[in-house]
Symmetry: C2
Subunit: 228 residues, 2 copies
Amino acid sequence: MVRLEGVTKVYRTDSVETHALRGIDLVIHAGEFTAIAGPSGSGKTTLLNIIGGLDTPTSGRVIVAGRDLTQMSPSELADFRLHTLGFVFQSYNLIEVLSAYENTEFVLLLQGVPKEERRRRAMAILEEVGLAGFANRRPTQLSGGQQQRVAVARAIVAQPQLVLADEPTANLDSETATRLMKLMLELNRTYGVTFLFSTHDPLVMRMARRLIELRDGKVVSDRTVESS
Amino acid sequence: MVRLEGVTKVYRTDSVETHALRGIDLVIHAGEFTAIAGPSGSGKTTLLNIIGGLDTPTSGRVIVAGRDLTQMSPSELADFRLHTLGFVFQSYNLIEVLSAYENTEFVLLLQGVPKEERRRRAMAILEEVGLAGFANRRPTQLSGGQQQRVAVARAIVAQPQLVLADEPTANLDSETATRLMKLMLELNRTYGVTFLFSTHDPLVMRMARRLIELRDGKVVSDRTVESS
Ligand SMILES: Nc1ncnc2c1ncn2[C@@H]1O[C@H](COP(=O)(O)OP(=O)(O)OP(=O)(O)O)[C@@H](O)[C@H]1O
Ligand SMILES: Nc1ncnc2c1ncn2[C@@H]1O[C@H](COP(=O)(O)OP(=O)(O)OP(=O)(O)O)[C@@H](O)[C@H]1O
Ligand SMILES: [Mg+2]
Ligand SMILES: [Mg+2]
């Protein structure tokens, strides 16, 4: 599903270079449920953004669902994201002028899904993340953790092939986080949605079936764990 | 240091009322180091914002450092915040056009602290949170956890009487979070800075000396814990 070959990312600020990714070689197979852990600044967001075609590597190749992202035009990348990916941003990136419901149904709208089906699916997923009663709220009328869950609902409502989630439980209490993870595990097991998420949360790490550790832009460990 | 008497907060959206706080009576003494835990949507941010004079209660009284916030004008509140409080927002609220250094020194600038002292103190606190090498970065050039630490540096650089921190470790790995908490404990023990912070992080809860639990806008438990 995802193959990275020799991916580097160098940011240049004020003549200072930051090597956010230092030669990542990585394969994520379809159907995996994988967590990426690592200290603050270790490259997790950078890696997810590159896999999601939201950023470009300094060098290397990024193949997702059979396509080399480094060879795609901006409009091809946008089309690829719309039809293949769900993304949960670390800062949520909800559209402030849209309600929780409208944020959630937005991807389905862009995909041309008919209104009634959009409504059914968006409301079902908001119910699953515990927010059915908040559907008409704008992001500024929601708590931090509620916004985070809308971001997750939006990312998974269209059951994309691959979901990239950047710290999807950071602002959630354990019970709400567990509920969310179980929802994602169900999508993985029932529909084969591949999940790759960054996290600091030990609860999330425990529920993953594979744990990759980053440190200073490098993969320092990659192990499969058996979970129940 | 902080006294809340019968504080309620009701948000009205689309004819729907949300009772974010349902009659909070609470005393925080000077020098305490207190965590507030509770599920997503339980009222933590609302409570901190009211104590910090950033929001007004629907009813009740809020007395901080001897002043009733509900009786203060906006300019009195702004002056109170500048000279008494440090605040770490859940979404950081860094000033995007300022560097990490400029964000950090900003409060000292407003307080009229001379340039050399501002520089010394801002760089010292950035060093303490592990970000001395990132001082010239703008927020968009920092990782999520790095931005969070700038937000904390900014809140504590002026050693305010009271620091209110809304989930200050949500985007940090355990090691970085522990380092941050130890820094805050040192300020508490050495300078008597009062800390009140909301959190979902068990690590943070363990380091607090008092743990208040909120549920559906009410305090459901309030216990002092002895820590080493
Ligand atoms: N501006 C607003 N308008 C309407 N409702 C609001 C507003 N702000 C917060 N609320 C609601 O008030 C309740 C408490 O919100 P608050 O942000 O205090 O929760 P919280 O405990 O900080 O949650 P989290 O852990 O998710 O950050 C929530 O149900 C939320 O939806
Ligand atoms: N736009 C940018 N310009 C310059 N440097 C950047 C930029 N974005 C990220 N960096 C730097 O690249 C490194 C990796 O950043 P990244 O956001 O990938 O880390 P992270 O592992 O997600 O951290 P966190 O856990 O704090 O979110 C960091 O040192 C960061 O400061
Ligand atoms: Mg990140
Ligand atoms: Mg909150």
